[in-house]
């Protein structure tokens, strides 16, 4: 089961869960993913220490996709 989560004021919110075989869940995840990107979130897949990948399309094969807000120099 893959998950799309958003880091927010509640800690994090699970926006979608899917398996690649479940077309309906995948479609819902894609819609949620696109909506969050349109709101200014960035999507990242972490691959352990030192490695993560910024993604612009929902990678259906990844177990966890995290949405984050932009960062800026303080």
């Amino acid at each position: 089961m893959s998950r799309l989560i958003r880091m927010d004021q509640t800690g994090h919110t699970t926006l979608a869960e899917w398996t690649e075989e479940d077309g309906e869940a995948v479609q819902a995840a894609l819609v949620a993913f696109r909506a969050q990107l349109d709101e200014g979130y960035f999507a990242v897949v972490s691959r352990g220490e030192g490695h993560a990948e910024q993604v612009q399309e929902l990678p259906l094969d990844e177990p966890l996709v995290i949405l984050r807000r932009p960062i800026a120099g303080g």
């Binding site: 927010d8 004021q9 800690g11 220490e49 030192g50 910024q54 800026a72 120099g73």
Partner: protein
């Protein structure tokens, strides 16, 4: 649309999108960081040496001006100390949010980091992450970078733009950005201090000092093990 997102065929981007906001900055590399560090030191010297020279000259020409000379020397000492204090401030805790949100955010951060990093975070509030540029200590509003060689430390001010996020989420934001593009992360961040570790250490709060010591000790141990293995 579905076809374009099946395994292995997703278009994946490299580089932090936030870099667009600092397009004029050249990408940070080990070499550029070293150069920045040296320039920082030169700048500090240029600000402090005139005070020292004036103090010495005054003392030599008119010993009665000794108290003025001492004040000038104090200025020369205080300037780098103030810079170090500014550097230490990047890893100063800013205050936690609602306990439930913090707990939830902590669960996610815990999933992202290893057991040792989790323990260090629990004790110090800083996450240790190894990268190409050195070892990073990430706080909620900034990071310390310890390059692989030398005794210099860089204090970088960088944070999530949403101020209402729980602390652990703010750290996770920095961690994910760092992992996505380390050089871009170092480019985006603003340098608050670059200088001797000992100078910064004195200005850090006790937990951050512990994290810094931990990194120095483990780096030294790893280097020792590597040289014994070679």
């Amino acid at each position: 649309m579905l076809a374009s997102t099946v395994a292995g065929s997703q278009p994946r981007s490299t580089g932090l999108p936030e870099l667009a906001s600092v397009y004029w900055r050249p990408r940070a590399t080990q070499r550029s960081l070293r150069r920045t560090g040296r320039l920082w030191t030169l700048s500090t010297i240029s600000q402090t040496v005139p005070f020292v020279i004036t103090a010495v000259l005054l003392g030599a020409l008119k010993p009665i001006t000794l108290p003025v000379g001492l004040i000038l020397l104090a200025h020369a000492w205080i300037i780098p100390e103030l810079y170090a204090a500014r550097g230490a401030n990047v890893v100063t805790p800013r205050g936690a949010g609602a306990p439930a949100a913090e707990e939830r955010a902590m669960l996610l951060l815990g999933d992202l980091i290893g057991h040792q990093a989790r323990e260090l975070y629990a004790r110090t509030g800083l996450v240790q992450e190894r990268g190409e540029l050195g070892v990073w200590l990430l706080g909620e509003a900034g990071a310390l970078l310890l390059p692989p060689a030398g005794r210099r430390v860089y204090c970088l001010c960088v944070k999530a733009t949403d101020p209402k996020l729980p602390v652990a989420d703010r750290v996770a934001h920095l961690l994910l950005a760092l992992r996505s593009d380390e050089s871009g992360f170092a480019t985006l961040a603003n340098l608050a201090f670059s200088g001797a570790r000992w100078r910064l250490r004195r200005r850090l709060r006790a937990p951050a000092r512990e994290a810094l010591d931990h990194v120095v000790t483990t780096t030294r141990a790893n280097r020792g093990a590597a040289s014994r293995g070679a």
